[in-house]
């Protein structure tokens, strides 16, 4: 048997627009991954603890409210604190291009803006796993 890739799709912050997150979750399932979905309004702490319990390989963060610069890096920091920074974090949502370099610098390994075809996300996961 080969190892299954497990991915946590999480929505930090307060925005309730989970259409994108759910779409990605469903598409990743169709691509053969095991996807854990947490629902909306998750604190960085809850996301990190969930990721560790579920022993995921990736965390996908989705945020549309504009709080990504504050909340995404917080998830990275908490993972480091728990010695779990081997888990790869990618992000998505309404994120201006000018914010992307800053996010990458802080440890968000890939950022997918609206309109990214799902096959690009899958290709990224396959290359990073």
């Amino acid at each position: 048997m080969t190892k299954k890739i497990r991915i946590l799709i999480a929505k930090p912050g307060l925005d309730g627009h989970d259409r994108g997150a759910k779409y990605v979750a469903r598409a990743l399932k169709d691509a053969g991954y095991e996807v854990i979905y947490t629902g909306i309004r998750q604190t960085p702490d809850a996301i990190v603890k969930t990721a560790i319990q579920e022993d995921v390989d990736f965390i996908g963060l989705s945020l549309l409210s504009g709080a990504h610069n504050e909340l995404f890096p917080k998830v990275v920091d908490l993972l480091k604190l728990k010695n779990a920074d081997d888990i790869i974090i990618f992000g998505g949502g309404v994120i201006p291009e000018s914010d992307i370099p800053g996010l990458k610098e802080k440890g968000i390994r890939a950022v997918f803006t609206p309109g990214t075809p799902i096959k690009d996300i899958i290709a990224y996961i396959e290359s990073a796993k």
């Binding site: 912050g13 307060l14 309730g16 627009h17 504009g66 610069n69 504050e70 909340l71």
Partner: protein, 251 residues
């Protein structure tokens, strides 16, 4: 096919009753309407012949049951729709400036966007508000913020729409209190609060309470406003966010 007189008769009846009642009180924008090349534009166009009963049942006339052709007898010949730009960001001060700009540009109604902590009933200093304050709308913690938000905007002159659901009761209370402070009595206030909690559960996720107490709050607002704020629409049922969550037009 020869002309069916019944259509013209019905139309005359509509002009003489439904339309007249309205135009007596609110005349149309212009005495006559025409296209760019001066072809006269009638108030309404109807068939000359065909299935009269089916037409009456399915389409009828504007301002008359079943309202397929519109709810007002003169529609935009009377007055245009309310141009109401949804706006709000950052602090009450910044949003106040934007509202004044929009009113200057010819906007006819205000529509307030609140930030997410406000929409879900948290103060800006709550830990869950981290990163979210002022992001998708204006941050309102207390009546003080509301006073700043409407500073210099006479609340008896503009109609205000607030996109708020779960904490609608609180924000409406602040609005009423600010108006009173401006010297505007509550029965002069016009506007809408988008207060459709079902939508929150279905599509947008800014809910707080379970359905039952939520319905109680809505009913409370209803009863209070029927007595105290007679000009306001207290609920607005939303198809928008459900559509935004991806439903088709039918749903």
């Amino acid at each position: 096919m020869s002309k069916d007189e019944r259509f013209q008769k019905r139309r005359k009846n509509w002009e003489d009753t439904t339309v007249k009642k309205t135009t007596d009180r609110f005349p149309e924008r212009k005495p006559e309407f025409a296209t760019s090349s001066w072809i006269p534009a009638d108030r309404i166009d109807i068939p000359e012949s065909g299935d009269f009963d089916s037409y009456s049942e399915k389409l009828g006339f504007p301002g008359e049951y079943p309202y397929t052709r519109g709810v007002q007898p003169t529609m935009y010949r009377g007055r245009f729709w309310t141009m109401r730009q949804y706006a709000g960001f950052g602090t009450a001060e910044e949003s106040n400036e934007r509202y004044k700009f929009l009113l200057e540009q010819g906007q006819t109604g205000l529509s307030i966007a609140f930030d997410l902590p406000t929409q879900i009933g948290y103060d800006s200093d709550d830990p869950v508000a981290e990163g979210e304050v002022g992001k998708v709308g204006v941050a309102i913690d207390t009546m003080k913020d509301m006073e700043i938000l409407f500073d210099g905007i006479p609340l008896d002159k503009v109609s205000t729409s607030m996109t708020i659901n779960a904490p609608a009761a609180v924000l409406l209370a602040m609005y009423i209190a600010v108006a009173e402070k401006q010297g505007v009595s509550r029965n002069k206030l016009t506007g809408t609060i988008q207060n459709d909690i079902l939508k929150e559960y279905m599509a947008r996720g800014t809910y707080i309470f379970p359905p039952k107490p939520s319905l109680r709050l809505i009913t409370n607002i209803f009863e209070y406003c029927s007595a105290e704020v007679p000009k306001g629409n207290t609920i607005s049922i939303s198809g928008d966010h459900i559509r935004e969550a991806g439903s088709t037009a039918l749903q």
